[in-house]
């Protein structure tokens, strides 16, 4: 399956890129497993996760064509 990954703010700085498209074996996987595959690290604490622009957590299941974003707590307004 193919998944689009996006990073914002300090997470973009940490990863050294704004986005990435990754191709993975299988038809689905949890966000937590996806993160391990792409980074080999544990997810920094306080990281927020959105799948297809809706907030979720590491247990969410990602499927082919999904957009997954990782970013720090929001500070707008």
């Amino acid at each position: 399956m193919s998944v689009k990954i996006r990073y914002f703010a300090s997470m973009r700085d940490r990863m050294g890129k704004a986005e990435d498209t990754v191709v993975l074996e299988g038809g689905s996987m949890t966000v937590a497993n996806l993160w391990k595959k792409i980074s080999g690290q544990s997810l920094p604490s306080n990281t927020l996760i959105a799948v297809n622009m809706e907030y979720t957590d590491g247990s969410a299941v990602v499927k082919n064509g999904d957009e997954v974003a990782f970013f720090p707590p929001v500070t707008g307004g």
Binding site: A9, A69, P72, V74, T75, G76
Partner: protein, 156 residues
């Protein structure tokens, strides 16, 4: 209801007036607006400029979601939000929340709800430029009223 995300400065007065010009005349009794402006200090640091990152698409979706919640919780006629992104200088407006209602209590409640939950959910991130360099802001100042539904206002 409408949300505008823009990377150029805006005039909150003109924006409010332009949006209002399309609303029915003589029907609303009260308008409450909140304008958040960039301060030249934060957490004890001087701040000379700010960059505001966002997640296009998700931003608009979550702000509209908050506005729709406010409209369900109160009796408002319309609401309009403008939010800057990109490079911002001190004293420039960052956000406008304008709410029109027949009665002022609804307009106050809804305006405060929208700005509080916009700050909590809308995917924006501030990076400040200070004499010590650039740094991502790590938390927003919370409105005490957002901590729990039904918490008393500090005074009536």
């Amino acid at each position: 209801m409408k949300v505008d995300i823009q990377d150029v400065p805006f005039d909150p007065c003109a924006a409010t007036r332009d949006y209002e010009s399309a609303l029915p005349k003589g029907k609303h009794g009260g308008i409450v607006t909140f304008v958040g402006t960039m301060r030249d200090f934060n957490d004890g640091h001087d701040v000379s400029s700010m960059f505001l990152d966002h997640y296009p698409g998700m931003t608009e979706r979550h702000i509209l979601g908050v506005m729709e919640e406010a409209a369900r919780l109160s009796n408002i006629m319309d609401a309009y939000v403008v939010h800057r992104v990109g490079d911002i200088k001190p004293s420039e407006p960052i956000v406008l929340v304008a709410v029109w209602a027949a009665h002022r209590a609804d307009a106050f409640d809804a305006c405060r709800y929208i700005i509080n939950y916009l700050k909590e959910r809308a995917p924006f991130w501030k990076r400040e430029t200070t004499p010590q360099g650039k740094r991502w802001v790590e938390h927003n100042t919370a409105d005490p009223a957002v901590e729990a539904i039904g918490r008393p206002t500090r005074f009536a």
